[in-house]
């Protein structure tokens, strides 16, 4: 679907308003999707304790670092509007209460007691809007003895068992090279908000949904947990985790929670051997192995009987993997992929960020990265939704907001305040710190 067509279609969450207190990454990743789906996201920010816009390691080299020039912030906060507001003052709190009273969802990812301490706990929210859907996205949840513990993605991953299940045997955990639980915690935030919204539309009842980053990680290791609770087998054992393999040679032959126990199942170097020149190959059956042997040109080593059976391939994995890599090193990873897939062999390239944006023909065909103009960053590619809704496309439609960019339209347009009240709020430090220089677009707003 062309972009201009998508823009003219309705959106799934048209008419839904979200008061978004979230910051850093997990919460903003949740509201990014609610926004893409058409909800009006009002991002409440305050420059003095902002976390997400700064410090920025993703500001382009030729652009000044300031609150409006983080690339990662731009990608994480599309489809939102920004209200700069000091909620820690009586006047600011009063304004946010008026907003909540005309909103459907309140979402935040502070630690467990922050909103309650502001006087905005769930009971208070209900007084403002009886059917409010309140999604809290804390590290450990709002109940339980460690509710006050804090997380970043890597800590949630460590404590929950996710870090442990990544790596080579007899090495430190390799873990996850990014905050997987900021991405996934964000997904759960959006999932909870949508589920609560659906339930509200069906029953008229709102609720508090207490989502927790560390705890949301635990169900992602389900089969390993059942192997322990049912069979008594711990994952802290020889040969686990087995790197990219389904089974590590010379260790007990048990399932390692990534699907069937098969070989080959590994990463192999490809031509020309640079940092990300790798492919992965998996054969789920003897037939798939025979197809791979054909694609490799039936080298003598591969046609010996010891590799014809799954048991043989598992037993002789080291020798088999060396043989496969001697062949894979002769091909570019995309050429290898095409040859294998054409023959019905499971193979794909290891892709870097550059590969995905520039070289992946599938992502290009599906328009995964579409350009949009941002007032401070210029025209840039943004990541789009991995699903296509036929009636209500979730294509990005707004660049990330400049801080406080929409204060006037929210305060005057939505809440019906007068322009004089807006000016007074800037003068008394409600909408912007009086000690901090204002951006040009704010001066424009104050005319």
């Amino acid at each position: 679907m062309q972009e201009h067509d998508a823009m003219s279609l309705p959106r799934a969450l048209d008419g839904i308003r979200v008061v978004d207190f979230s910051w850093v990454r997990a919460g903003p990743w949740a509201t990014r999707w609610l926004g893409a789906l058409g909800a009006e996201i009002i991002k409440i920010e305050w420059p003095e304790n902002e976390r997400g816009r700064l410090p920025s390691s993703t500001t382009p080299q030729d652009v000044e670092v300031n609150l409006n020039t983080s690339g990662n912030f731009n990608d994480t906060n599309v489809n939102k509007r920004s209200l700069s507001l000091n909620v820690r003052t009586p006047k600011g709190l009063e304004i946010v209460k008026r907003l909540i009273a005309i909103s459907d969802i309140v979402i935040e990812n502070f630690s467990s007691r922050v909103l309650r301490n502001w006087g905005l706990g769930y009971e208070e929210l209900c007084k403002l809007k009886p059917d409010i859907v309140y999604v809290s996205m804390s590290g450990y949840g709002h109940t339980g003895r460690h509710h006050h513990y804090t997380t970043f993605g890597p800590v949630a991953q460590a404590v929950s068992g996710l870090t442990f299940i990544s790596g080579l045997p007899d090495k430190p955990p390799a873990g996850w090279g990014w905050s997987y639980m900021d991405d996934t915690g964000g997904m759960y935030g959006a999932m909870c908000a949508l589920t609560g919204l659906y339930h509200r539309n069906m029953t008229g009842q709102g609720q508090h949904i207490d989502q927790a980053q560390m705890i949301a990680s635990v169900p992602l290791t389900g089969p390993a947990l059942l192997d322990f609770t049912v069979n008594g087998r711990a994952s802290r054992r020889d040969g686990f985790p087995p790197g990219n393999r389904a089974h590590w040679p010379g260790t007990p032959l048990v399932n390692n929670y990534r699907g069937p126990t098969v070989a080959p199942h590994n990463a192999y170097r490809t031509h020309p051997g640079d940092y990300n020149d790798w492919c992965v190959l998996v054969c789920h059956s003897d037939e798939e192995w025979q197809r791979l042997v054909q694609v490799m040109g039936q080298p003598a080593w591969a046609t010996t009987p010891k590799f014809a059976t799954l048991a043989g391939r598992l037993q002789h994995q080291e020798e088999m993997d060396e043989g496969i890599e001697a062949w894979s090193m002769t091909l570019d990873k995309y050429e290898l992929t095409e040859r294998c897939q054409a023959a019905g062999v499971r193979a794909l390239p290891v892709q870097s960020s550059e590969d995905r944006v520039e070289h992946d023909p599938q992502l290009r065909h599906r328009q995964m990265y579409r350009e949009m103009e941002h007032p401070a960053l210029g025209v840039r590619k943004l990541q789009n939704a991995p699903f296509k809704l036929s009636e209500t496309p979730a294509v990005n439609h707004l660049p990330s907001p400049l801080i406080g960019q929409h204060t006037r339209e929210i305060v005057e347009g939505l809440l019906g305040c007068s322009h004089a009240e807006l000016l007074a709020g800037y003068a008394d430090g409600t909408f912007w710190p009086t000690t901090r220089a204002r951006y040009a677009y704010m001066e424009e707003m104050l005319r």
Binding site: W33, G71, P154, G161, G177, M187, I209, V218, R356, F387
Partner: protein
């Protein structure tokens, strides 16, 4: 039991038909555990995912797969051969009364059986159908065959995960385990389905969803893509911590008991943090020179960064068990954590406080087992596991006789002819 625990789940009243293997079964579980009536439709003899281990007592059998058990809780199960005329007919009748169909067949398969969305919506305009496939319904890779490992490669996970050279020379990029490519696809599919359901509550209109696991994975590497788009930098792999364009200080430290602690220290080293850190270390007599007032000068901190991280923090963690470091540090406000194996969570007191672990009965075995619980507590419409995963065709009679009105004789005939 509190009042809230007896309430229906938030998705109560929804009928979901799930035609899904490993790619989509978690999405069905997410909906079933939140109260939807999920009918899992398997081919006669059972879904292939029943052949994946581990198995109860290590005895391979389609009713003993813990992999299948885990991902199919709170569903009912029927069998149906869609490649027969009778099977198609029965499926159309089920689809006429369904809210959502979730399917993971190769693109074009259901349409080739005259069971594509356009056909099914004729009899049910509010129907939502989500096809969750490796690459979506279009594009040059749409017919490629995959696995969890393949998605983690092409999606970018592997390019971000691995080792510092000093920890594992010549190590390959690493794909984290646990089948997370399927989780990523299922989380996004769940979001798309819920958005379509919310839209339907307002308009009554259904829609078709074309969801791609490859795209879901490609989206799930945090700042790797923005690093490239905004700075043309390609991130590199680092042991147990964030990918980055260049080398960064370590964050994973070995503890006295041979385990590891994730301690995010670098990047936070300011005078106030040093003061708190000195107090934490000093409470174990391990502060070294860190209480020296010179460390209130940011320049001195910067000049001594390696000493602070490698020697003081490293030695402190090396002197204690990982769990003790974790709790001592968190109690003082440090965002640190022990690297635990999944099974260690069974002993986590906080999870017990939140009644996280659930006992699930398997009546045919006369036994019950502990399963992990909910990602979030819904205070007005609780998550729950309503039943263990279905046995093969366990609900054939309930659905085909009880709902569609077939006689038990007709059911027997369908079984004989391998329609069910």
């Amino acid at each position: 039991m509190t009042e809230a625990q007896t309430l229906p789940g938030p998705l109560a009243g929804l009928r979901i038909l799930e035609l899904a293997d490993e790619k989509g079964q978690f999405c069905g579980k997410l909906m079933g555990d939140l109260g939807a009536d999920v009918i899992k439709i398997e081919p006669p003899g059972g879904e292939e995912t029943r052949r994946v281990g581990p198995f109860l007592d290590d005895i391979a059998h389609p009713e003993r797969s813990l992999f299948f058990w885990y991902y199919n809780t709170s569903k009912r199960g029927i069998t149906l051969n869609l490649e027969t005329a009778d099977g198609c007919q029965l499926f159309r009748r089920l689809a006429a009364a369904a809210d959502v169909i979730l399917e993971t067949f190769p693109p074009g398969y259901l349409s080739s059986l005259e069971l594509g969305y356009e056909k099914l919506r004729e009899q049910n305009p509010g129907l939502i159908m989500c096809a969750l496939t490796p690459f979506g319904q279009t594009g040059p890779w749409r017919d490629y065959i995959t696995s969890d490992l393949l998605h983690m490669a092409a999606g970018g996970q592997m390019a971000s995960c691995g080792y510092d050279e000093v920890d594992a020379p010549n190590a390959p990029p690493i794909a984290p385990g646990g089948g997370n490519a399927w989780h990523m696809g299922c989380h996004y599919a769940y979001i798309a389905i819920m958005a379509a359901l919310v839209y339907r509550t307002v308009t009554g209109r259904g829609q078709y969803i074309d969801a791609s696991i490859h795209e879901a994975c490609a989206l799930t590497t945090e700042a790797a893509i923005p690093n490239y788009i905004y700075r043309h930098e390609v991130v590199r792999r680092q042991t147990g911590r964030h990918h980055a364009p260049g080398s960064t200080p370590r964050t994973q430290f070995r503890s006295k008991d041979g385990r590891y602690v994730t301690a995010l220290v670098a990047g936070r080293l300011n005078p106030r943090y040093i003061k708190d850190l000195a107090e934490l270390l000093d409470s174990y007599g391990m502060a070294g020179d860190l209480k020296d007032p010179k460390y209130q000068d940011p320049k001195v901190i910067e000049a001594n960064r390696d000493h602070i991280i490698e020697e003081l923090v490293g030695n402190f963690i090396a002197s204690l068990p990982a769990e003790e470091v974790y709790h001592a540090a968190q109690a003082r406000g440090f965002t640190w954590g022990a690297v635990r194996a999944p099974e260690a969570l069974l002993d986590d007191a906080h999870l017990h406080d939140r009644s996280f672990w659930k006992q699930v009965e398997h009546p045919e075995l006369g036994r019950g087992f502990v399963y992990p619980g909910e990602a979030a507590i819904y205070n007005g419409s609780p998550w729950r596991i309503s039943r263990r995963a279905p046995l093969i065709g366990e609900h054939n009679q309930d659905i085909f006789c009880g709902e569609l009105g077939l006689s038990v004789h007709e059911l027997a005939m369908l079984a004989e002819s391998r329609v069910i």
